[in-house]
């Protein structure tokens, strides 16, 4: 075991734990944001640099500070380590810079983006960004393409976290998409026209932190905050499929099916394409009850303007949410749309 101090809070974790996961054990607002790391995916992390923290003391044995900020998602704890995240102005400043970098080529078309409301980048930008941009150049754009019958790729929104590539590598045995090109011309793609058709390919949608990979079967293209998440399960014949899902309802309709995510947006139990794309009737499922609304939900985060709230929609929302909405009318996300 190793004992570390994170933003002044002591926590004890097994040796080999990353700083990020130690912080998650404490929980709350001190947890660094993670845009590329994904616990179940081997090799993930280190790329986005959103999770950089300052190590003020390396260990009890060698209490010198580390010379550079380190990626908390891939740096393991040492006994006696002292880490600063929200308590370090340097970290906060650098993080603002990272948001800026991630956004300079990002379209920020949240109003028409399927991910809006459950987007890690949107949350990250809201929490750490500034509301004006210094970027005057032309933004990089790509056409959106369908990769197979279920998944749409909107590359312009991709932040190159590589999660979908690791997912396809580690979950399926026939990866057909990958990172092509290099530098800021890198893109996720299949190179030649190709279909992601593996039985577990749908999981790339869940791991994608932004609206780059989305579910083409998400019926009616509803804003997620108009939908009601409900946990459910079924006996699935697929060996690797957990059959544990979240159903997203509007009224009586199941609009989409996703794997269950924890409060950090991580899927711990993968699901197969049949459960995700083909089972959209309530009768397909054993309902367990309302899903926990996590920290990345717009409803709890309360960042959005809902121009017109359809009464019917309100009727479908959980009681507590409606009360929350009444108490705290959602605000327009600070300068994000358009003028950013």
């Amino acid at each position: 075991m190793a004992k570390i101090t994170f933003d002044g809070i002591e926590v004890e974790v097994p040796d080999g734990t990353t700083i990020l996961n130690a912080a998650r054990k404490i929980g709350g607002g001190i947890v660094p944001p993670a845009m590329c790391y994904y616990t179940p995916l081997k090799g993930s992390g280190g790329k986005c640099r959103a999770c950089l923290v300052r190590v003020a003391a390396g260990s009890a044995k060698d209490p010198r500070p580390m010379p550079k900020l380190v990626a908390s998602c891939i740096t393991t704890v040492q006994d006696g380590m002292v880490v600063e995240n929200t308590t370090s102005q340097q970290v906060m400043d650098v993080r603002k810079g990272i948001v800026e970098m991630l956004l300079i080529n990002h379209p920020l078309d949240c109003p028409v983006c399927d991910q809006a409301g459950e987007c890690d980048l949107q949350n990250f930008a809201y929490e750490h960004g500034v509301s004006t941009t210094r970027y005057e150049e032309e933004r990089r754009t790509f056409d959106k393409i369908d990769i197979g019958p279920y998944v749409q790729l909107h590359m312009t929104r991709c932040i190159l976290c590589y999660r979908c590539v690791y997912t396809a590598d580690q979950l399926t045995d026939a990866r057909v998409h990958g990172v092509l090109g290099r530098g800021d011309a890198s893109e996720i793609g299949t190179y030649i026209e190709n279909t992601i058709s593996n039985d577990f390919s749908g999981n790339v949608i869940d791991v994608c932190p932004v609206g780059a990979l989305t579910d083409k079967t998400f019926r009616f293209k509803q804003r997620v905050w108009f939908t009601k998440p409900v946990n459910a399960h079924r006996e699935c014949g697929h060996e690797k499929c957990s059959g544990h899902v979240t159903l997203w309802y509007k009224g009586q309709d199941v609009l989409r099916v996703t794997a269950r995510k924890d409060e950090y947006g991580e899927v711990k139990e993968w699901i197969c394409n049949e459960c995700r794309f083909e089972k959209k009737e309530t009768s397909d499922w054993v309902i367990e009850g309302p899903a926990h609304i996590d920290r990345s939900s717009v409803i709890s985060a309360n960042h959005y303007e809902l121009p017109v709230i359809n009464p019917q929609v309100i009727a479908d929302l959980p009681e507590s949410t409606v009360r929350e909405l009444e108490r705290n009318p959602p605000l327009k996300l600070g300068g994000m749309s358009g003028s950013m």
Partner: protein
Amino acid sequence: MGRKLLTEHVNVEGIETFAVYRKHGGYRAVEKALKMTPEEVVEEVKKSGLRGRGGAGFPTGLKWSFLAKPEGVPRYLVCNADESEPGTFKDRFLMSKLPHLLIEGMIAGSYALGARTSYIYIRGELLYVLRILEKAIAEAYAAGFLGENILGSGYSLDLHVHPGGGAYICGEETALLESLEGKRGNPRNKPPFPAVQGLYARPTVVNNVESIATVVPILNMGGDEYAKIGVGKSTGTKLFSACGHLNKPGIYELELGVPVEEFIYSDEYCGGIWKGRELKAVVAGGSSVPILPKELILKTAAGEPRLMTYESLSDGGFVTGTMLGSGGFIAMDETTCIVKNTWNFSRFYHHESCGQCSPCREGTGWMEKVLHRLEHGHGSMHDIDLVVSVAKQIEGNTICPLGEAAAWPVAAAVRHFRDEFEWHVTHPKEATQPGAVYRGNMVLA
């Protein structure tokens, strides 16, 4: 004239062949090494004070002593012959002229590290050099210096050359290893370091061509003798590749410690600035290191003559100093536009970023665009601060040092030549005249 330890016989007819190289004392270092224990070979290299010639200047012997040696796991010595840092062209010279020197160093080094298979990773553009090396390797096999049971010592080694495919980033050692594994050249997160998990996740040492070649004279003369050459911690001789506006650009082997002024102006070396012009600035160690104006490259801020050593070139830190880097010495005459040159370098880093981590992927392109604007007379005063601020946002926050390599030249150019950047803003018409250049308040066409 200084001693030449690497290039002494470079002009001997046929020196690229085994027979001639051998006749001039070649492979004595291997014979000597095989009679020593591997630890003794490492010790000699430690004593020599040799510092890595690839750019970072890390002590080679120390690096070798860090190599993990788990029982039953192969380990590798990989030679970094990716040479792509603008201004640097010494390794290509060494390999094409003296292939056996590198091979000899590889054998001695591999023996010291306990490697049974070693690789030379050469940039793909140098396919003709790859073939020179392969031919020399075949000769070395035939002569019993490679393969099974070398010289009856019981030690066996296979040596192969591997081409890259056109990517500066593959000079970064972990990107190089990825590339050698047949993948995209994405640098790895560290730790783990190559000494523990390198090629195929096995312990690996990566060294520059010149570092490995230098092991040969070190073993021949002894580490202690080698360490007597040079100044302080800058021991021995080093190859410098001089380019830009010099009368005699080329590759020079120098005993470390030659004054910069002598190197530039003496007829023994670069022979002064071409066309009788004045020197304006120098990038002393490859495009990644900070540029210095004439006053600061010839003399330190304290007025001491600057020497061609690691310590002297970095005297003054980044405020008034620079770095020895890879030894790529780029001289610019009075007609050089610093803004254009800075933009050109930033285009290079933009083009060569692997794109894995967000500050470098996005920031290098951003800097290039702003600099392009400034160079073409569309920039504002605010752009000058902007580009420095973007550089700062990259520096220190990336996976690999390419981030810094991209940021430093920009920050340094603005630091030392801010007035020239401002002139591009205040005099856009003049600045975009072909051949126009800022020199104080004077415009020369």
